[in-house]
Each structure stands twice: as structure tokens, then as C-alpha cells.
């Protein structure tokens, strides 16, 4: 179900049209990634979703209600927003995290309790007494997230949340984000320029570029669990061999261009080989996308010449194979 519905929306900043959105839904109970290069308008869209920026044209609905000048302030109080370079006030970390609650009239002991819980959730309770201005970029990012979480928002909006973070912190944050989905939040929307992060964390990816937003195709993305004994990923009973140390991953993606399709079983070095059949063929600029059912619904990207040579058509029995290095684990 759509939590946000945008209809014929135009977003303007400094007298320049940044985004034109004829129709866009952002679903409830999912993590949505806004993927696009810097300056594409991701932050502008987040500002509109937060209620910080009024559309110059069109309708924005939140939970079915039209957001207008009157209801925009109320929307702001229902979202938690962490901007790309968050501003922390010149006081302690604890006071920063409590601030939003105090502004909402929450009593001091209750605000303290909720701030403590938010800091603990992100594993940064040791920072509580530190002056906020002395924190590193990554710490600032996490304190700002704690400040947003302490408000128990319905929606969490994050602008490039992983920019200033080191690798270990990114891992912690990934877990936090996944946990958040089950923590009473109605939606999480984050902007990133990193396609890998979008794939790893988001259920839905929206591509933001050239003033437009398009829904991303999720090719060959599968959820499952790693089976350490067989060093393979178990996707609903189909085992996919992967390369390297990948404990803790919950999703895999298989590169469509590295899938080998043949009419007979090949004697080869490919570790993942499956029998199946062709479901559909679709042509685009890159080549021909061949959809295969091999227990998994796989998409292989082949050249026109290969498809013609093999005589592929829907219903044909084929073999599909790929190397463990064609699999990325998230």
C-alpha cells in the first residue's frame, strides 16, 4: 500500500525545476532507496516527503491525506529526517538527542529515557556526555540518526546516510536499518549514489536522474541464507555457490551478463549449473534479456547473435550456468 502518493508534482528550488513527478508512490512497510548521482534531486524529493518543501504544483498525499500549508507542520512532526551533513547543536550529545523531544513537550525524565534508548540502539551510548561539536563525521551522522529515532517517527528519511561512515559502521547501520523495518516504522526512505548499498538494503529502488524518478528493475536479486557447510547460498532450496567469505549476507544478486545459456549440459568450470526452460525474451538497448525458470527466475543478458544461434524461444529447454564470482552477496 502506498504511504506517500505524489500526483503531477513539480519540485522547484531557487527558481529552478528540480523534479517533475507525474505519478509516484512510496510504499508502506518497505525500505525505499532513492538512487542517483549527486545533484539529481534526491535531497529535494526527501525535503518534499518531510514537509520541508512545498511542491510548486501537484498533490502530495501522506497516508491518504493531502498535505497542504496547514498540515505540513504536522507531517514534519511525524517524520524523522537525517540530512546529508547533519547539524548538531553546540551542546552535549545527550542534550542534542533529547532536544526534539523537549520541543514536543516531553518531560525531562521521559526525554532522557528515550534518548538513552536511541543512543543504545545505535551503540553510541558512550558518546552521551561528549560535546557534539567534537565528534567525527561518522559519529555526527549516528547521533543525528539517534536524535531522529528518539522522536519515534512514523517515517525515517535519510540523505546519504553512509557517506561519512567507515566500513564497520556501515555494517552496523545496515543491521539497524533492517531492524527498523520491524520496529513500528511505516517506511524508511534513503537517498544514495551507491547502487550496491541500494541493492543491499532497499526493497524498492527509485532511480532519480534528469529531473525524473523511475522505478528500478531488480534483476536476479534473491533473498536467502548462507549455508556454511556447503559454502553456498540457499535460495528457497536452490543452492548457489558464491566466492569469498560472505557470512552474514541475506541477499545475492547474479550478474545477468555473466550467465551462460546452452542447449546441452556443458563440461565447464562453472560451479553453478541448472536445467530449466525459457520463459520470455525481451529486447532492449543492451541486448536480449532472456528470462529462465531454473528453480529460480533468472534473467540472462545475451547478444542477438547468441539468441539466434541457439534458436531460443519461450518453452525451450536449456541449461544455465555461472561462476561464483558472478554472484554478489549483500
Amino acid at each position: 500500500m502506498a504511504l506517500y502518493e505524489l500526483w503531477d508534482v513539480r519540485l522547484v528550488r531557487a527558481a529552478r525545476t528540480v523534479l517533475e513527478l507525474p505519478s509516484l508512490d512510496i510504499d508502506e512497510h518497505v525500505i525505499t532507496a532513492l538512487l542517483g548521482p549527486n545533484g539529481a534531486g534526491k535531497s529535494t524529493l526527501l525535503d518534499a516527503l518531510a514537509g520541508l518543501l512545498a511542491p510548486a504544483r501537484g498533490t502530495l498525499r501522506y497516508a491518504g491525506n493531502v498535505i497542504d500549508a496547514q498540515s505540513r507542520a504536522a507531517l514534519l512532526r511525524r517524520v524523522g529526517y537525517v540530512s546529508q551533513q547533519p547539524w548538531l547543536f553546540d551542546r552535549s550529545v545527550q542534550a542534542n538527542v533529547e532536544l526534539g523531544l523537549r520541543l514536543r513537550g516531553v518531560t525531562t525524565p521521559a526525554a532522557r529515557r528515550r534518548a538513552d534508548a536511541a543512543l543504545a540502539q545505535l551503540g553510541i551510548e558512550t558518546l552521551a556526555a561528549r560535546p557534539a561539536r567534537e565528534l567525527s563525521g561518522g559519529e555526527t551522522q549516528r547521533v543525528a540518526l539517534a536524535r531522529a529515532l528518539a522522536l519515534a517517527p512514523e517515517v525515517l528519511l535519510l540523505d546519504e546516510p553512509f557517506n561519512a561512515l567507515d566500513v564497520t559502521t556501515v555494517d552496523t547501520m545496515k543491521h539497524v536499518l533492517r531492524d527498523l523495518r520491524t520496529a513500528g516504522l511505516r517506511a524508511v526512505v534513503f537517498a544514495t549514489h551507491d547502487a550496491t548499498l541500494a541493492l543491499a538494503l532497499a526493497d524498492v529502488t527509485l532511480h532519480v536522474s534528469d529531473g525524473r524518478v523511475t522505478r528500478g528493475k531488480r534483476m536476479n536479486l534473491f533473498g536467502g541464507a548462507f549455508d556454511a557447510r556447503r559454502h553456498a547460498f540457499d535460495v528457497g532450496g536452490v543452492m548457489v555457490h558464491v566466492a569469498g567469505h560472505i557470512a552474514g549476507g541475506t541477499r545475492i544478486q547474479i550478474d545477468p551478463a555473466r550467465i551462460v545459456v546452452s542447449s546441452a549440459r556443458l563440461e565447464s568450470s562453472l560451479r553453478n549449473v541448472y536445467a530449466g526452460q525459457v520463459i520470455a525474451l525481451a529486447t532492449d538497448d543492451d541486448g536480449i534479456h532472456v528470462t529462465l525458470d531454473v528453480g529460480l527466475r533468472l534473467q540472462a543478458l545475451l547478444s542477438r547473435e547468441s539468441v539466434t544461434a541457439l534458436g531460443l524461444a519461450p518453452g525451450h529447454a536449456v541449461w544455465a550456468g555461472f561462476d561464483p564470482h558472478a554472484v554478489r552477496v549483500y
Binding site: 518531510a50 520541508l52 507542520a73 514534519l76 540530512s83 551533513q85 547533519p86 547539524w87 547543536f89 520541543l103
Partner: protein, 229 residues
Amino acid sequence: MEYYAESLSRAWQLLASGEPSLAIIVITSVSTSLAAVACAALVAIPVGVLVALARFRGKSALRHVLDALTALPTVVVGLVLYGLLSRRGLFGEFGLLFSPTAMIIGQAVLIAPLMANLVLGAVESCDPRLAETCRMLGANRWQQALLVTLEMRRAIVAATVLCFGRALGEVGVAMMLGGNIEGHTRTMTTAIALETSKGEFALALALGIVLVAAALLVNLALGRLRGAR
């Protein structure tokens, strides 16, 4: 040159002796200036913050007026207030002329536009993320003004310190509204003017040294405030 050296040596002696009349003059100067700064701050800080945050028609006109008032000659402020406070003036019945209160009013009127302007400039030039974060956290207009004031506290204190320096060093208002009455409204600046004209160069020089020391202290405080930002 010998005259200068002689006077300077006598000035040091006067300062070292802790001459009570000299102490009274310094205390009068400092206390009236502090009171004037406090009165001006009550009005100028909220005005500066609110004008900086608000968007309204005539804002740029108001800024021009504030700029013009900042450059107001002290004798003109003294003259206008003299007219208002003198016996036949609008507030003549309160008998304030030639009292410390009149000097405090005059100095407050003189420095308030400067203080408002400094605060306004500081708030307008602060990071735009500050106001945005206030909104994100759900602050209403008044809460936002309070948060911005607290966040800009160093710049605001620096503005008040600078204004204290200006009040301490001005002579026009103190002379015209205070009247330079010994032990009552005689300040360092009016005393220097008087003693010099009387030929009491050493006393004037002693007060001059105190005034310069005060100016240095004010600047030192400003430097520390700016460094800590």
C-alpha cells in the same frame, strides 16, 4: 616631551595611590555603561534575532534604518534626548536630566541599534542548516528563535562586549545628559575633557590609561570569544 614624561609619572602616582575621586569616576563610568548595555540588550537582542529570522515587507528598509542609526553621532543622540528630558521637555517632569539614569538612557539608545545590527548580521550569516534543523525537530517560531539565540550565544556576547566598549568610550551623551557633576555623573571621558581644559594633564592622562586598559580588556575578551567559536 619633558612635560609629557612628567605628567605620565604623576599619572602613575595617582593610579598607584588609589585616589578615591579617581575610583569614583571609574566606577561611575563602568556602572552606567554596564546598565546601558543591559537595557539595550533587552530590546536589541530579540529584535536582531527576530528580524533576521522573519521575512516581511520592508525588511530591507528596516535594515537601512538600523544601519543609519548605528552611525548616529553621539552629540545628536545627546541633543535629542536633552530636549526630551529637560524641564520643558516631554519627560521633563521626571527630573532625569543630569542624572546617571539619563546617561544610561542615552547610552542605551546610542548602542541599541549597533547591538541589534551585530546580532542580526550574526544570525543571518549562521549556517542555514541551523534553521532547517530547528524545523526538522518540529520547533515553532518562538522555539526556533530561542534555539538560534542559544546557538549564537558567543556571537551575541561578543556583540554586547563590543557595545560596552563603545558606551564606555563615548563622551557626547555622557557630557550632555550627565552634566559632568563630580561624584555623581562624572565619567572617565567627561573628566578627561574637563581636566585637560583645566590644565590638569596628569589626572586626564591617568584616566586615559584606565580607558585604554579597559579597551584592551574588551578586545581581549572579544578575541577569546571569537577564538572559541
